[in-house]
Amino acid sequence: MPTTASAAHPLTDVTASDSTLRRFLHGLPGVDAVGLEARAASLGTRSIKTTAKAYAIDLAISMVDLTTLEGADTPGKVRALGAKAVRPDPTDRTTPATAAVCVYPDMVPVAKEAVAGSGVKVASVATAFPAGRAALDVKLADVRDAVAAGADEVDMVIDRGAFLSGRYLKVYDEIVAVREVCGTAARLKVIFETGELSTYDNIRRASWLGMLAGADFIKTSTGKVAVNATPANTLLMLEAVRDFRAQTGIQVGVKPAGGIRTSKDAIKFLVLVNETAGEDWLDNHWFRFGASSLLNDLLMQRQKLATGRYSGPDYVTVD
């Protein structure tokens, strides 16, 4: 069996075979969809005002993985994105930088250069993103490329086909293999594509599978399918990282991605973090937003708080 740096926890046994892994994942507590969504909705009614709102907006900005994942991406586009990540609001230097820029592997060198010296990380999607439908060798080569080009973080996709057909150990082994390639150079985010896993029970199982395999982050989605991050699936993943740390002592981050466009939404997610996983996760080392248009809305809200006036799209940069 492949081993990882974090494989010494008390749950190591469960990955001994396909059947032990299946038994473990299917033995996780079930999720009642209505109850989960009701809890997420109820936390969504928290009213975050004044000082708390200012804190939340800056925290959210610092958690953004500013993302461009288009076939049309060019070095110019990526450079502009990098500049925006480093200095989101050129008119206000107190604005925090984002956590990272997130790009395809071939754009990693450009991105590295664009954020050099800023502390902003470069994240690269990999493993035949977004579908993940390639041979393991190809996926690992993809990861190797990204890491070699200096990616600080790798956002891999799991093999949803294998997961949905019950071949959990295959999914596990693949994550472990990618983890090995990342080594100590890159933190690994494991994307489940929750919209394709479809059920909350599957999302909980995938979360534990990813964490058992050594994920540094578990991430909802690619942003390329109809349903991406939602308060409910993110809440569920926050419960998973909370419970995983309680059992193993290992802390894992969470990254909702796709569909989060407004400050109001982002703040709701931060409330979920605060009241589910707790304040240990209120840091961009442990929580990220995979987003692009969200940043400008956060910046406009920030300007509104600072000036008392509502801002407009012409007062933030379009990149």
Binding site: D32, V34, S198
Partner: protein, 295 residues
């Protein structure tokens, strides 16, 4: 007619499927409408009432847990058995109520038909008074009637057999178990009914028949903490009020005495629903997958 000396019947109580005498050892004289001695009937004590409650409680789980179809079959079986013993009941009812043979036969036939009517209700009442509720949310919820529990029934004083069955059958049709206090003056048809029930398929304890002084038996039943409901049909206004006050101690469901001109009239479902509780069970419905959720 031969001048053979007939064998007299010793009437006994019917409790827990058995035929005990009153634990008090008391009997009282039962006469026909002209004052002629008919038999000695057991004069039940408060301890007999207590024993009957224990028997009824013991029988409740099985009877209320039986399928409604099964209860219907059992009640129909009672009608079958009565049909075969019609002559005996015609005789007893005629004596008890001072009726002609043909009027008594009408009463007994109406009584048999009443068992049939209630036998047919057992598996329909839930559909008539229960059902799903269209709640405004992602939940399925269903309201179903359930039997109240152990019901004390004071049978009507005047109609010794049709009246008795008219108040008893609806109570057990829905799954309750009963302690029925027979008409004080005319208890014999009720006591004989116990013999019919014992030889039909009604489980012991589902119906318990006590004879004696209504007020003496009803008082401990009305205040008994393990009796869930009481039908005051056989109580006069003064007694009914006393019993209703006593019944408040554990919030028994009380069916007050209502004037009944004609026991042969179609009964409707009021007596069925009087001793039903409504239970509403909720469950989330949710969606097929996690994809339905939104902000």
């Amino acid at each position: 007619m031969s001048d053979r000396l007939s064998v007299l019947k010793t009437y006994k109580l019917y409790v827990g499927g058995k035929f005990p005498r009153s634990e008090s050892g008391r009997v009282y004289e039962v006469t026909d409408s002209k004052g002629k001695w008919l038999a000695n009937a057991p004069q039940s004590s408060r301890k007999d009432a207590r024993d009957a409650v224990v028997a009824a409680r013991k029988a409740f789980g099985g009877w209320s847990g039986a399928t409604a179809y099964n209860r219907g079959q059992v009640l129909y079986r009672v009608a079958e058995m009565l049909e075969g013993r019609k002559a005996q009941f015609v005789h007893e009812v005629a004596d008890a109520e001072g009726l002609s043979k043909s009027r008594a036969a009408e009463q007994v036939e109406a009584t048999i038909d009443r068992w049939v009517w209630y036998a047919g209700w057992t598996d329909k009442i839930a559909q008539v008074v229960g059902g799903g509720n269209p709640v405004a949310g992602p939940y399925f919820n269903l309201s179903s009637p359930e039997p109240t529990g152990v019901v004390a029934v004071l049978a009507p004083q005047e109609s010794s057999f049709l009246g008795l069955v008219s108040v008893l059958a609806p109570v057990i049709a829905t799954g309750n178990t009963a302690i029925v206090v027979a008409s004080e003056r005319s208890p014999l048809p009720a006591l004989s009914l116990g013999e019919v029930l014992a030889t039909s398929d009604v489980p012991g304890g589902v119906v318990n028949v006590l004879s004696g002084r209504t007020a003496e038996i009803a008082t401990p039943l009305a205040s008994h903490q393990d009796v869930n409901a009481i039908d005051l049909a056989g109580a006069d206004d003064v007694l009914a009020k006393e019993l209703e006050i006593a019944a408040a101690d554990n919030l028994k469901r009380v069916l007050r005495p209502q004037p009944v001109d004609n026991w042969t009239a179609t009964p409707g479902i009021d007596r069925l629903t009087a001793f039903l509780e409504t239970k509403t069970v909720w469950h989330p419905t949710g969606s097929l997958g996690a994809s339905g959720s939104s902000y």
